[in-house]
Each structure stands twice: as structure tokens, then as C-alpha cells.
Subunit: 434 residues, 2 copies
């Protein structure tokens, strides 16, 4: 019986896995350089955990199931609910700031079709327990540090930045109260996808002809940061606070040296309901329709789980959109199979020695291998090259006579004779001689 | 609404994650030193993939579900079916030997109770495309290299070793044909758990009083390797072949230097049906009831999936039993939070400089952090220690006056003054001065 991989799921053959590990390593390296600690949660959670935050409509996007005890679970479609649960459970004992990152695998029940993955990874970084927008700036700096780490510049990518309080104040200036703002946020979030005509149609449907949607549209597309901030500051005390907070965020971004990547854009509001402060998304400059990262401040997440209030700010970056962007920009590395040493016998009788040497070199942490078949020396050299070995070690008559080995540097093509005992005592050093 | 973690699933808080990553890093390091390449597959597969190999009774141990298109899936409970599927799909293009490892996360629908995990990780290493028992010896050497890597000795652990052909020949010697051997394998597999009396009862129930179960029992408990091999060689041509194969395996294990860990034990047969050659399990010497690793040779796995025959040998080691054993033996490391540098301002006005320095040092890959609150110097030093920082960097008046920084080695308690430009150009070097 022949069985395929499930639709929308990926097999990671070694070449795919090397690339995937390259991405994961960069995510981990950058996270750690900013003092973040790694965490993870279960691959599935109680179904309720996901519906609390996102409502029942999310269930159609989940892989959910019951266990034999009738409990309902779902494979996680995002990490934030798990993070909120874990932090709420230890809110009183975790030292602040809580700087955590994770690289969870997760699933969404997408319709199987080209380019729609049902399983993916997402880098999550969050800072919790801090109200100060210093944390928001640092989270954005983490994202930018990764972009730099993989060779991207402000010519390649842009961090589009706004804030919920600013958007709220702009809406207030055209007569839309906070309690009526949800639909407006959804429409603003989809402005680029809808286009101006459809945006206007849906806007009129939602708010009627009395609310001046054109004025909002001007702010969405034409107004500068200063014009927006002036409008916001004119909207009373909350507007002034929103302006001060945003200016403080910009000053911190300046100090962290990441402003060249950032651009204010009122159209960024983030669709989901739980953001309360600054919000941001990262786009490729030449493919601005799909964000490769989205994040923002959420201050009420733990209270939804009956925990104490723990303010937070964080982002998620999916592996697939990021890899796609890097591919588009020609920034994916070529990663070949690598091996430190390939051991060759000049005589099948010496194979036991090959095995002993391999055991010793592997014990030193050197990636070492040999031919599984007793074939001629030149065939073994070919295998060494095919495996990407840096050095070949030949066990021949000089080993039998004087316990010496031939070491060949396969990159430079040069070779020397080395006493076996030198090699086994300090292999790194011995290899560097050739 | 308060929501717990699902029963039998683990949350990995940072301290747990450090330990988990320590284990994963050791698994990866050892696998790579033996020239293995990492791979992975999807978290769930078509349900059929698991029932082909293990029969329908496995369904009760699975978390299975349907998607909206009516396809039936299950979260993977083991990696071997995925490995077989992936290898069968590219059997003609993958260069041999195929030396692959993986650290999949997987789930089993255990009844939630203490110590029974529903989600776990399992290190898998396999060599495919090789009939020679050289591969079997190398797989065992990989397992032993890991045991050594985490500080275990032959006094702590034992690799119990047998082979299906030997067990088959022993059974033949008491009149049980290969076609009737399945039940006998199951009983031998459970000999230690059943105890002699229950074993005899079930044996008689299965094979009746005419088959000399006591003779088998003597071979299970008393006979030496030599006695077993003599018996096997007396069982005709297949027995002689089984003996030759096993002796060749032992010779390779000797060459790889892992024989001190290994012990022949006819009771090792591995319950599942698909093993065809050598089989082995690793036990703690003081807790021999539960294996921490199991593996063996399976030569027909890809043909079950309508692929060409690709012989293979491999093992699986679960994270939870291994961690438990290491804990029992006092071999788990103490892993504290670590940070390279904590930057301190002697004056809140200098905080922007702290941010700039942090950005630069992080850019050099150094794990760098600072206080989120503008507090006094001694409080910041306390935070630096709490975070496990190796160095503290103080930005004070000497920075304003001469662009110099105080660098304190927090381990040794000593400090020096360093020009900021030196530190930013080659931070590792500058830090080594103190």
C-alpha cells in the first residue's frame, strides 16, 4: 500500500533540514543575544484555550479532536494563548522583565492547495511584565537584528509601525467611538487588499454616509507622521498620551539603531482584537502584500485566563513566508553536507584500524566517516569528496610499519604524514598542519 | 476562565527548556560526529500509515481526527513509519548508506496518570541501504557514544543484545517453526515482567505441554553466549548463518570499542513484529525493568509501503526515560541562566548610551542586557548577578569625559577601564583583559 505525505505538510529531507536548522539557529542566536530565554508548550491544548481569545469561529481553522475521556483538544494554531496560560500560572513568581522566545511548530486546518501550509513553525519573542514602550522598542530591535543577521537591509525590508491608541484617536477625530472601532480596524487592516473602491463601499455599508471616510483615507495614504500626531494630540488627553508614548517609542528605536528599517504607517492595526498599544508588521519592499512578521502590545491577555494583569509585547514570524522572501532576494545560503574526516584504508585488512580511529576521532567531536564497502583507494577518495569531507585520512603500510597516517587536506589538495598518536591526542591541531 | 495544561503534556519553562536543549544538543552532536544527517516529517500522518505496520489495535493508542475533507489523520506515535515513507519515496535517488537521525516530537493517547506522558520526544538514528552488520554495530556505537557523552559508564548502563535469527534458531531447536514463533517472541519479550511462574502458565497455554518450555527457559536465563551459538549452529544452514552474522557483529563492536557496554541476552527480542536481524535495548544497571533505548534491524519496512526493498537498522531513545535515568544517577547538569554582559548606567541620562552599546555588542553575538528601570548602580549590579552575567559594563563620567568604560569581571570581582572603541571593535578580546 502506497501512502503519501498528508496534504499541506512538509517532509524535511536532509537538505531541507539543513536550511531549516540554519533559520532556527539564526532565530536562537539573535534571541539569546538580546537576553531572551527559550520556552515551549504542548503541541495541543484544551480547545477552550483558543476560543477564549479568538471566539468560536476559529474552530473551523483548527485540527481538533477528543480523547477517550471526552476532553476536547486542538493542535495549537498560534503560541500566544499557551504563553498567556504559562505566564498566568506563575505570574507571581517569575522575575520581571519576562523575556521569552520560542520556535513552536503549529497547525492550521487550511484547505489543501498550493502554497497553503497546514503545518509550520513560527518564531515568537515576547517581553512581559513591562508597561514601558522601551520593551516595544526592544522587541522591534530583536526583529531587525534577525533581518540584519540574514543579510537584509532597509532596501530589502521595512518595519511598518503604528499604534492602536493613535488609530483610536484618529477614528475619534472623525466621530467613531472606541466601542464602534472594531469594524473600522478590520477595514483599515485590509485597506491595501480591498483597494480604495471596495474599501469605500464597505466603509459606507458599516458607518453610513455621515462619517467622513475620505478624511480617514487621506490619513491612511497621504498624511505624514507629524500630521497624524498633530491630529491625535488635538483629540484630548488620551490623544496627547498616545502621542507622547509613540514619540518615546521612536526615541528608543533611534537609540537601538533600528530607525532606518522603520516607517510609520497608519494602515497597520493588526486584525485580531487583543492589541492595546504599538503594532507593527515587516514586509519585503518588493512584495508588500504579505507580512513576514506581525506583532504588538497586548496588555489584557493573562486577565482573560483569570490571571493577574501582566502587560506584554511580542511578535510572531512564520518560517515559510520568511524563507520565501529570502529566496526571492537571493539570500538563502547554499548548505552542502559536511564532514570533518573520511578515513580510507589502503588494504581491506586494515579496516579494523579504520573503525578504531573513527571511534577515537568521533569521541573528540569530529564528524568522521568511512566507506561501508571495502573498495579501492581512489573509489574511497571519491566517496570522501561526495560526502563533503574536509580531510581524508589514509591507513596504509606506513601505519603498519611506523604507526603513521597520511592526512590529505581535500580543499587544498595537499598532504602530510602524521604520527597516529599525535592525531589521536590533539586531532584539531594535527589537522591544521596540512 | 482558568485553563490548565492538558493532562500528560509538559510545559517547558526556561529552566526545563535549558535541560531539554542540553539533551537535544548531545543527541545532535553525537549523531553528527558519526556522519548522520538530520531529517524530520509532519507531526501527523494519514492514519493508514500507522495501521499498515502495527495493525488496527494501535488506533486506540493514537490521537486521530478527520479534516473537513473527510481524510483521517493521526499524530505520529513513532517515527519509523514516516522514515519508511520518506525513504520509499526516494529510494532510487538517495545515495547509500542512508545515515539519518531525527528528534521528533510525538504523542500517544495514554490514560492520563502520573509518569505517563502523552507527548514526548524520541531520538531516532537509522542506517538504511546496508545489509552488512557493520551498520548494526555502528548504530550501537552511536548509542554508546551518547551514553559516554553524558558521563555514563558500563557500571551505569548495559546494552543487551540478541538477534531474531538466533532466537528463531533456538525456538526451532525445541520444535517451534518460524510461522508459530510470534507468540513465543511476545512471551520471551515479557519474561522478566511475567516472572517464571506466569511465563510457564502462558507458555503452556500457547504451545501445550509437548513443547519443552523449560529448556527454552534455561537458555533464556542461564546459557552463555557460546552455548547459545553452539545450539544455533546445530540448527542447520540458517543457524550457521545466524551464528556467523552475530560473530561478525561482535567483532565490529570490538573494533568500535563499545564491547564493554554490551552483553548478550536471549530475552531481548523486541515486541513489535518488524525486526529481522540483531535487536538490542539499553537499560540502567539498577533499573533493568524499563529500557531507555530499543532498536534493531528491519529489512522489510519499505516493501510494506510498496517501495523497493531497503534494508535498515535503527533505534529510538525517549527523552523522558533517559532524563529519569540520568536524574537517578546524578548525571543531570545544573544549568543556570547565562548572559555575557549586563550594562549599567551610573546616571539615568546615560541610558541612551547603554542602549547603543547593547545594540553594538548584541550585533557581535554577545548575550547582552540592561535594567529596564532606571535605578541606582548597586541595584543594577544585583540585577546583573541575578541574570548570571559574566561581565558588567558601567557607563559613567569617564565615558562622558574620555569615552571609556569600566568592565568588571563578575566571577573574579576584578575591574579595568577600557576605551569604548576597543570594546566595540573587538569585544571578546577586550573582555579577556579583565
Amino acid at each position: 500500500m502506497k501512502i503519501q505525505a498528508p496534504p499541506g505538510m512538509r517532509d524535511f529531507y536532509p537538505a531541507d533540514m539543513r536550511l531549516q536548522n540554519w533559520l532556527f539557529d539564526a532565530w536562537r542566536r539573535v534571541s539569546r543575544s538580546f537576553g531572551f530565554s527559550e520556552y515551549d508548550g504542548p503541541i495541543f491544548e484544551f480547545l477552550d484555550l483558543f476560543t477564549i481569545k479568538s471566539g468560536d469561529e476559529i474552530v473551523s481553522q483548527l485540527f481538533d479532536f477528543e480523547d477517550r475521556g471526552g476532553r476536547r483538544f486542538a493542535i495549537r494554531p498560534e503560541m500566544t494563548p499557551t504563553l498567556a496560560r504559562m505566564v498566568a500560572a506563575r505570574a507571581n513568581s517569575l522575575p520581571r522583565p519576562i523575556k521569552w522566545f520560542s520556535i513552536p511548530r503549529m497547525c492550521r486546518a487550511e484547505k489543501p492547495q498550493r502554497g497553503r501550509l497546514r503545518e509550520f513553525y513560527q518564531w515568537n519573542a515576547d517581553i512581559l511584565g513591562v508597561d514601558d514602550v522601551l520593551a516595544d522598542a526592544e522587541i522591534i530591535a530583536v526583529a531587525v537584528a534577525f533581518l540584519r543577521e540574514v543579510g537584509l537591509t532597509p532596501e530589502d525590508v521595512v518595519v511598518k509601525l503604528s499604534s492602536r491608541p493613535i488609530a483610536t484617536a484618529v477614528l475619534a477625530s472623525i466621530g467613531i467611538e472606541a466601542s464602534q472601532a472594531d469594524r473600522a480596524f478590520q477595514l483599515i487592516d485590509r485597506y491595501d487588499k480591498l483597494g480604495p473602491n471596495e474599501f469605500r463601499r464597505q466603509w459606507n455599508e458599516a458607518y453610513g454616509p455621515d462619517v467622513p471616510g475620505e478624511r480617514l483615507e487621506r490619513y491612511l495614504t497621504e498624511a505624514s507622521l507629524e500630521q497624524c500626531l498633530d491630529l491625535v494630540a488635538a483629540a484630548g488627553e488620551q490623544g496627547v498620551a498616545a502621542r507622547t508614548q509613540f514619540e518615546s517609542l521612536l526615541a528608543h528605536l533611534e537609540s537601538f539603531g533600528v530607525m532606518p528599517f522603520c516607517k510609520f504607517d497608519l494602515r497597520i492595526v493588526r486584525g485580531l482584537g487583543y492589541y492595546t498599544g504599538p503594532v507593527f508588521e515587516v514586509f519585503g519592499r518588493r512584495s508588500e502584500l504579505r507580512a513576514v512578521l506581525g506583532g504588538g502590545r497586548y496588555d489584557d491577555l493573562t486577565t482573560m485566563l483569570d490571571g493577574p494583569r501582566v502587560p506584554g509585547v511580542g511578535f510572531g514570524m512564520g518560517d515559510a513566508p520568511m524563507m520565501e522572501l529570502l529566496k526571492e532576494l537571493g539570500k538563502l545560503p547554499e548548505l552542502e553536507e559536511e564532514l570533518d574526516i573520511f578515513i580510507i584504508d589502503a588494504d581491506p585488512q586494515l579496516f579494523a584500524t579504520v573503525q578504531e580511529l573513527a571511534a577515537a576521532l568521533r569521541g573528540h567531536g569530529l564528524a568522521t566517516d568511512f566507506s561501508y564497502k571495502r573498495v579501492g583507494v581512489s573509489k574511497q577518495f571519491k566517496q570522501a569528496s561526495a560526502r563533503g569531507a574536509r580531510y581524508a585520512l589514509v591507513v596504509g603500510s606506513e601505519y603498519v610499519e611506523r604507526r603513521e597516517l597520511t592526512v590529505k587536506n581535500l580543499e587544498r589538495g595537499e598532504q602530510i604524514i602524521v604520527p597516529a598518536d599525535d592525531l589521536l591526542r590533539a586531532p584539531q591541531e594535527a589537522l591544521q598542519r596540512v
